[in-house]
Symmetry: C2
Subunit: 425 residues, 2 copies
């Protein structure tokens, strides 16, 4: 791109996650010109990232090339680049490799990991946001078993076999459950010298209970399912320090040190750099997590043609609380932004956003899940089937990923994990 693209109705979408993808999907074939900008060349099905981290799925299974998703849509331009600046006056975005003009701008970059000021912990407690994060965690877990197999020193071996997942949200719950299945079921026949009794998997949560966004009863059931899988759930437990082989926890005033070489961070989020750019250039307010406070129509500050949505937005107009950073919220917001832009272009009545909670799901291991559909709350195997169905249907919708369903069925019956390989990336 050496000169700005700018048309009468040119919508630029930054970010090909759930929000951006649904916005573009709903805008296509409506006469507007669309440019979708993403750092990566694929849409990532983030809810299954923990399965890549535990060797159940390959990266390619949960990533759909954006160009493939929108192949044949000639009105959509896809640019694989990073945004470095936004100029609301000129209506122009600066990329590393050029400039792009816009009439309407949708910013949906999602959020980054947040170590709450303890950035030095990142090295020893990696997070789980990208494909690369997932592969790094997969390598870490598999390498730990290799190291434990040949380690003669009992204390060191125990540190290799202790897995600590920090953060009792859905990601932490799903990840710790998957690690337990990998450790106690899949790998047990393969390491002759490892005594399963030495394996310890801990899920840490600072609050009094895990899954704070879910009803009490379901969180309780999730905790029980985790225990059955062999996960020790520690609530009211705050991390105070992380080093290469140790984690220090403060729990009800007590200080606990665990020796562990496998510490994983799923505890916090923060707005991306683009939130700071928007704040500086438009005067938009940010919340404590660095997310952008948006107007009732998702526009920011006084810029009626710049919208922020998805995880990066703090939308508190509906319940007084920010809507949760989950895929269904992002999808509905993306679709809504397409509607509002189309309405404004055609001079029609501007719609009002209302999030419809269609349910929340979390999976615990191979047979259990919890689902909260408001009136209906289910757990166990039935919830697991619902979970599988919902996730597969999404993958199939965008990328004909039937193959993932077959792979899951296959892995389920054979207890096999296709991708337990240690690679340098």
């Amino acid at each position: 791109m050496s000169e700005p693209i700018k048309g009468e109705n040119h919508v630029v979408v930054i970010g090909g996650g759930f929000c951006g993808l649904y916005a573009v999907k709903s805008l296509r074939k409506s006469g507007v010109k669309i440019t979708l900008i993403d750092k990566r060349n694929f849409h990532l099905f983030q809810p299954l990232l923990y399965q890549v981290a535990t060797g159940e799925l390959s990266p390619g299974d949960i990533a759909s090339p954006l160009r493939y998703v929108f192949s044949g849509n000639n009105e959509i331009d896809i640019i694989n680049d990073e945004v470095t600046d936004i100029d609301p006056d000129k209506q122009e975005i600066a990329l590393k490799k050029g400039l792009v003009g816009y009439d309407y701008l949708i910013v949906a970059t999602g959020v980054d990991k947040n170590y709450f000021g303890n950035e030095s912990w990142q090295e020893n407690a990696p997070g789980l946001k990208t494909i690369e994060d997932a592969l790094a965690i997969r390598n870490k877990i598999l390498y730990a078993f290799e190291a434990a197999e040949i380690e003669k020193n009992q204390a060191v071996r125990k540190a290799w076999l202790t897995f600590v997942v920090i953060g009792g949200g859905p990601t932490g719950v799903e990840l710790s459950g998957a690690i337990a299945e990998l450790a106690f079921k899949t790998l047990r026949r393969e390491y002759h010298r490892i005594d399963p009794e030495e394996i310890e998997i801990i899920l840490l949560e600072a609050a009094p209970r895990i899954l704070s966004a879910y009803p009490d009863t379901l969180a309780l059931k999730a905790g029980k399912s985790l225990n059955r899988l062999g996960v020790t759930v520690m609530t009211n437990s705050m991390v105070t320090d992380v080093s290469e082989s140790d984690i220090t926890i403060s729990r009800n005033g007590e200080k606990i040190t665990k020796h562990s070489k496998n510490i994983i961070w799923t505890a916090g989020i923060k707005g991306t750099k683009i939130a700071d750019i928007l704040s500086a250039k438009t005067g938009a307010d940010l919340d404590r997590a660095g997310r952008v406070m948006v107007n009732r129509d998702f526009s920011v500050a006084t810029c009626s043609n710049i919208f922020v949505a998805g995880d990066l937005a703090n939308y508190s107009h509906q319940t007084g609380q920010p809507l949760p950073g989950i895929a269904p919220v992002a999808m509905q917001e993306g679709r809504f932004l397409a509607r509002i832009i189309k309405a404004r272009i055609k001079g029609k009545k501007i719609p009002v956003f209302r999030y419809r909670n269609k349910g929340m799901l979390a999976v615990i291991g191979r047979n259990a899940a919890i689902a909260d559909f408001g009136v209906l709350r289910v757990s166990g195997f039935f919830a697991w089937l619902v979970w599988i169905f919902v996730h597969i249907m999404y993958l199939v919708e965008f990328d004909n990923k039937m193959i993932v369903m077959i792979q899951w069925a296959w892995n389920y019956f054979t207890h096999k994990r296709g991708t337990r390989i240690i690679t340098s990336g």
Copy 2:
């Protein structure tokens, strides 16, 4: 490992490739203790590596964890480590993390890439030996299309869209065919601004013809199939220089320069470091490619209990020429070594090795292949079906990779490539 493991009949196998895997497979349940050492935790199905490089398969599809392959075999120890030295007198191997004793040693590490003294070319002309190599090439190819899509300068765009594969052996033939299919079929609907006329794919071979190990007629057919796919085959063409965006070729005394940002090296092999160690410690001779000259029973120099086989061995006793570095040779050698070791332990008659050529196969694109079964030489779609069958059966044998077959069928009918994603590893 802190102390050497050494038993009465302890066989140590270095390398979990085709040779090592078949040796271990044939030795198990025969009363010997086996230790399999590999740098990586998986067996790699190398013949399909080019499909990972072109986004047709995921790394996990062609890699089988060694522990999975031998799960439940308690007499087999698997060590994930790198060999740093061999002591034939003490019968001991030094690893980075310990020592291992042996009674019989099989060295089957395979070979490395060879740039024939032009190691500086490696940066701009990566080779294809490991999963990481394949992912780097995949990223390179996909990134080139992204860059070409936004490049306004015609000459620079042409350099992004010119792909040069150096080396007309099976890997070069298969890789250039797969790049042509990716460029002309899969990607063509997805990049609005790229003119397919600007894409150029060149296969370079220094010898007068490609596929020198195959009969003339089949090589000719392979060349025609490549032309049909859009590959320009240049024989008698020697690379004289490689830089970031240029390759210089000498052809019949003429000097040709091509601007290309996608140069891939499949032209040469050389023995691994372990060949040098063996040469220094046992007095074994190496050939010009650094492979180990072995005795008629694959033992080296005067060490009757150290064997070298697979690609790393130069075995010229059968035809006067070294046996080719292909999977069937390695498998047969691995099986033979198991037989010879079992015979020696039991004091039985020592068998004599005879390679049985069951055929050679190479695939060109989605519909054509060539197969040389000695008396029967076939090409085209039937050869392609044979090729698919042979490769799948192998994968299924070791790792129940039925899923790969389904995936191929799926990709074949949908023209989809599941893993066209650019990741940092």
